[in-house]
Symmetry: C2
Subunit: 200 residues, 2 copies
Amino acid sequence: MSFPEPLVKLIEELRKLPGVGPKSAQRLALHLILSGKPAIDGLVSSLVAARDRIRRCSICGNLTEADPCPLCKDPRRDGSVLCVVASPQDVAAIERSGGFKGLYHVLRGAIAPMDGVGPEDVGTDELLRRVRDSKGKIKEVILATNPDVEGEATAVYLSKELKPLGVIVTRLARGLPQGAEIDYQDDITLIKALEGRREI
Amino acid sequence: MSFPEPLVKLIEELRKLPGVGPKSAQRLALHLILSGKPAIDGLVSSLVAARDRIRRCSICGNLTEADPCPLCKDPRRDGSVLCVVASPQDVAAIERSGGFKGLYHVLRGAIAPMDGVGPEDVGTDELLRRVRDSKGKIKEVILATNPDVEGEATAVYLSKELKPLGVIVTRLARGLPQGAEIDYQDDITLIKALEGRREI
């Protein structure tokens, strides 16, 4: 190996990132080093700031600087509807859509029994406690986990636990995405679109 | 935007990396933050070590911790042949092949007139000075820049400047790569393979 040791170490660290293989880790590391100290300093200081200033909101679990987070503190949000998602990206996506004005609960991922990730690992207890402690203030829980195996497993588990607490439990609609061509849709999407058809 | 500001800043920094778009920058940033402090600390300390300990070799321009670099200092390397490459990755690749036992000269990229990158920007002066100052010790210069527009432009420029210094100037052979299927090769590769055919 003809790379100096600190460069080899940096390549190894970059390889730990999702979607970064050996070749792209090498390209990233060399790009950083060849760009000079200011490029590395910019990345280092933003990493340190993120590490030191971002935490999880103690109410909803979303990433935030202030605890509770701005969404939980916003009096204009509807506290009777809770949207449960598996990650902070999903909050950002739903907020971007502008289609939801209630509050969120952010799990730490989705239940994945095959990978040994159980309900307690993703924080379902905190959600159930939050709903229970709201004493009827939370009336509906929308299960907005992904429509894949883990997301469905999480939704099935949560709906079973939530219903005895007296809340309405809903799931995001399934069907054709905007702009889709029917000819190109997979079977499950078409089946779900047919099952969920609505009178117009 | 519902991400806290330090996270937005981190996403922006990651977007500056080559091949990292807005979506993967977001995924990388969230992965780092959700992995916890040790993951970020590992990356930060390897970035700082790379920034502080890696420099360019004052002889060949390769990345190194010690100056001169281990390759330049190795008495077993053949100092009469110089292999000119455009980046440190290329040294690593050629070293890995085991096919070269001379010394290297690493340019800072390739000449790209369309992007305003001239010979002085990639450090051709240092190479010419090195060859001149060797007083005949360097007998051959292999131009191992990439077989693309910029690499060819660099090779053409360098060969014109190097020949008057009395060295043999060569270029890496062009032809079929190992394991290739002729049916799948582009026209230029086939033309070069025909032009460069050798008696067996």
